[in-house]
């Protein structure tokens, strides 16, 4: 389903209906999975269209607000200097621009709990590393034009790393094990 607006509200409504096995938010879409042996494809499509029209407004909720303390020394932000240089500014100026951005979690994906944050000043440029790292530490924050990416777990990754938070982003025992969820507003404070 294409939906550039209100993807999070649509996803919440679909999720809440308990009809769908999986509901996944993409950059410009919401995707569901269903069992075609229980419900035929035509019926499923009709239900999906109906659900997206019916329930969106009911599912609008106040987004949680999170403040993350982020370290940006060289050990925790190995690519910060390069990212700043690519934008003809100092590391501090680069971080200040980010600090003024209205960041919110756009979607989770790529790896368990990996959060894409949108709202980054579109004038800041930057792309993936030529050689992805085998291991990026949990809490690391990457930057690619338009987005910040937060690694909830250790894992491989190709985003240039510009900081790292000590905040606990993953609780194995919780029903929802990841602290960052789509729609959450995130405020970053550099330390």
């Amino acid at each position: 389903m294409r939906a550039t607006e209100d993807r999070q509200a649509i996803a919440r409504a679909l999720h809440g209906s308990r009809i769908w096995d999986e509901v996944v938010i993409g950059r410009e879409s919401v995707t569901v999975q269903f069992d075609p042996s229980a419900r035929g494809p035509a019926k499923a499509l009709a239900m999906l269209k109906q659900a997206a029209m019916d329930d969106i407004n009911a599912a609008v909720v106040d987004a949680p607000n999170l403040k993350l303390l982020v370290r940006s020394d060289e050990a925790n932000a190995p690519d910060l200097a390069d990212c700043a240089a690519a934008n003809n500014c100092s590391s501090n100026e680069f971080l200040n621009i980010l600090a003024r951005s209205n960041l919110s979690v756009d979607m989770l994906g790529f790896a368990p709990g990996f959060a894409y944050l949108s709202g980054v000043d579109p004038n800041l440029l930057g792309g993936r590393l030529d050689h992805p790292r085998q291991r990026v530490k949990a809490g690391s924050i990457g930057f690619i034009k338009g987005y910040l990416g937060i690694y909830a777990l250790d894992g491989p990754g190709g985003w240039p790393i510009i900081g790292r938070t000590d905040a606990m982003l993953f609780d194995k025992t919780a029903r929802d094990p990841f602290v960052l969820s789509p729609g959450a507003e995130v405020q970053i404070e550099w330390v």
């Binding site: 999986e22 075609p36 790896a111 709990g113 194995k172």
Partner: protein
């Protein structure tokens, strides 16, 4: 009871039910790459179809049992012996303390399933004990088994001796015909996907299998916004080789999703090994649902309530 892994081979993991309902937070389903073989093995030892067992990827694999149990082997058939005597796949076997099971390399197929009555005990994460190696979740400390590991099992009363009905002993060869439907990024340039033969490369894991062969050139949609993606998807990255997704695949992707192997045949993906050839059979979505209902009926005739 416990069992000691003597030789874990290239990769053996604990797999049980799918970790369902968490893709929205980036967590893949995991679970057996060939869930049908996994369910059959479980049924032979009196377990529920999705009880946790051992997925053996291309032997050799060996294990010593430290108490009596019923076991069963299914999936890729490999020369196998118990205390040096040849044993069969697809039937209940009874083992006792000190027995030594050796699974060799299969001639066809890639993954052999070992079920133990009562099931093995793995770390539970979000309602599943299935191992997801990339993030170290579930299973045995979130990792593949190693020689020397001692795996625990749950107690269970002794089951009856059973044999898998012949209609459920799906034969494996070096070629696979997979029923599939058009993906969201399928275009008019994709029609030869249904006539071309593809070959699995050496890039093969529980995340996916790379395919070599003539793929369409889809320049117009090379840079797509990331969207939800599921096992069975055939993605087409810019280097031009298709990538067919398995249960550990990531939850979102930005490569063109050109076709989708249907759920009826997705269990076969877990048996494709490097060098095998693959043909895609074109199905509409309605045909795909019918195929699935038929296959589920066939399996449920023996394993009540089974769902692929």
């Amino acid at each position: 009871m416990t069992l000691r892994i003597m030789n874990a081979g290239p990769q053996a993991t604990l797999q049980g039910n799918q970790r369902a309902g968490y893709r929205y937070s980036g967590i893949p389903s995991s679970g057996p790459a060939d869930p049908v073989s996994h369910a059959i093995a479980n049924h032979l030892v009196g377990n529920h179809a999705s009880t946790t067992g051992i997925e053996i990827t291309y032997g050799p694999f060996s294990v010593e049992f430290q108490a009596s149990a019923a076991i069963a082997l299914t999936g890729a058939v490999a020369p196998t012996s118990l205390n040096g005597r040849v044993v069969s796949f697809h039937e209940t076997l009874f083992v006792k303390q000190g027995d030594f099971l050796e699974v060799g390399r299969p001639d066809h197929g890639l993954r052999t399933y070992l079920a133990i009555s009562g099931g093995v005990v793995g770390d539970e994460f979000l309602g599943s004990e299935s191992t997801y190696i990339p993030a170290g979740l579930g299973g045995f400390d979130g990792r593949a088994l190693r020689s020397g590991d001692v795996v625990e099992t749950s107690p269970r009363t002794k089951p009856r001796r059973e044999t898998t009905p012949e209609t459920l002993q799906f034969p494996l060869g070096n070629s696979f015909a997979l029923r599939a439907s058009e993906g969201p990024d399928y275009t008019g340039d994709c029609t030869h996907l249904w006539t071309e033969q593809y070959k699995a490369t050496r890039r093969a894991s529980r995340i996916g299998i790379e395919l070599d062969g003539a793929f369409p050139k889809i320049h117009s949609i090379a840079n797509l916004p990331s969207a939800g993606i599921f096992p069975g998807a055939l993605q087409l990255p810019p280097q031009g080789r298709g990538f067919l997704l398995l249960p550990d695949c990531q939850t979102t992707g930005g490569y063109p999703h050109i076709l989708q192997v249907n759920r009826s045949d997705r269990h076969l993906l877990g048996q494709i090994r490097p060098g095998d050839s693959i043909l895609f059979l074109h199905r509409t979505r309605e045909q795909a649902a019918d195929d699935l209902i038929k296959k589920q009926k066939l399996i449920a005739s023996w394993i009540g309530g089974f769902r692929v």
